[in-house]
Amino acid sequence: MINDLVIPPSLVMLLGAFLIPFLPKKMRSAAFMFFSFASLLYIWTIPVGKILAVQVMNYELILCRVDALSRIFGIIFAFIAFAGSLYSFHIKETSQQCAALIYAGSAIGVTFAGDFFTLFIYWELMAVASTVLIWARRNKDAKKAGFRYLLYHVFGGGILFMGILMHLSESGSLSVIPLTQGGPLSSWLILLGVIINAAVPPFHTWLSDAYPKATITGAVFLSAFTTKTAVYVLVRIFPGWEILLVLGTVMTLYGVIFAVLSNDIRGVLAYHIISQVGYMVAGVGLGTEMALNGSTAHAFSHILYKALLFMGAGAVLYATGESKLTKLGGLHKSMRPVLILYMIAAFSISGFPLFNGFISKSMVISAAGESHQELAMLLMLLASVGTFLSVGLKLPYFTWMTEHKGLKSKKIPHNMILAMGLVAFFCCLHGVMPSLLYKLLPYPLHFEPYSIPHLVETGQILIFTFIGFWLLRKKLRPHATITLDLDWFYRRPAGVFRKIFVDGVDSIFKWTTDRMMTLVGRVTRLANNPVALFSRDQTDSSYSPDTSRPRMQSILIFVLLTFIVLVLIGLLAA
């Protein structure tokens, strides 16, 4: 049954992923950009209220449902896919192009899905496509991290699907609608499945482990989609679940603390995804219209500046081949445009006035204030101190400033700089003209970010965070180390588990195979020459009447013995 003729927006990019391998190689990068842009254009023009529902057996699947919430997420997903396709224009790997299109298309699919089944299909497709962007780095670390990433998401997807099936059996409905707080087990399972993708600690390690190991261009896509589709689902289904306020607030600080210790520039950024998503999760936990608007606006801003940060870090990695702070330094002369564009993103994430982080993060913090959640508000402000400290100060200082370590940097393709410029433009645009973003939000909004209290608060925090950094900058000097995180619990015992469940099972199979082969060999030899069994001459030769014929006395003894046995039987029977 078709209610309305609307093509699901996800299909534009999925069609692109299907067609690109059939196009000439030279056209594929352009086609990658074309399908991303076409998707953006389509989502921008699609009217709110459109629904595409089909009846499959007894279930009504809503393949596409357009409302303000899905539209704003769809717009930013498509935009960042387009910016990412421009950033990776020089990459000629079809597998990466297709994976990125499937990944972005699936994220858009989740956004517009009106039923849990459709949502789940896209959810899993995202997991598989994103793994390809990690494996495409083609080194040992990326391969291992990709497997851990995939397994984690399969685990999370399994929990989500279990929750969906239980929800279906309880309610009889597959519709994606808000679930009542503290509802049945099915709601908690769905929540768990979703917060795994939102990288809520303790389920965050797939992100901090895998994102720094992805390809340069892949990390840009990864930073945008998985966690933000989870945020979208949280806003859609779990508004006002109080546990999310606690989890979100903890997240903001967790990521900040680990980022201080990270030596990898993309590791610092990965931990700051966790921290920033914390604001969005906390906003969902607050559940007011202002807070949900704040979570949505911050997701939008975050996708822009985080992609730009990963683009900047990727440019450094591309130019120098290094991403460790201990090996970087003094690059400001050779990579000035990248530094400037990176700093626009760093100012945005740190919440500087006139940048987009300022106009969105403050919505969530203000919403916490309006709800009289003072502790959460102060902790989130403390996290913003840590954000500026790591992303705005530590990372650029030890990458572009300090002493030059002798690294040579190669020229960065123009398309990478152009893509960074495009994203930076929107980071600034929304900072200067917040109404452009606010008018896309799902609920009516009465919020003035450029109020004097807010400017004073932000100004004082930023100035004195900078002074604190300057005083203790020597303490932040990076070291060639790693920081243990909760992935220790599955990475450390991995060797033991491998020995028991892989090497152990493997050796049992090998032993059994060897024994069986020996047995089969012996039986084969015996079948060739059964007489050898009775012969002292145990050769492998086949039976030959001339050489293997039993001796005369053996036959006579055999006949005699048979005769004696028959006589004995006859006597006993008589």
Binding site: H372, V456, I461, I467, L476, H479, L484
Partner: protein, 73 residues
Amino acid sequence: MKKWIVLILFLLTLLSLYAELSFSVDAGHGHWWNKIPGFFIFFGLLGCILLILFAKALGKYWLIRDENYYDDK
């Protein structure tokens, strides 16, 4: 730190304090910290220092390992 940066930071701090005191800063929700002038000066500075020291201590005494930690096992 260069003198002109120190000067700009000093002037901006003065400006923020002037704005705070002149415009009777109140976010409208009566938070206790709104009654303390320059609260976010201390919040920013102490927050930054405590975050660095806490994270560094956490790393030094518990979480920091050699880069090959997982490869060796």
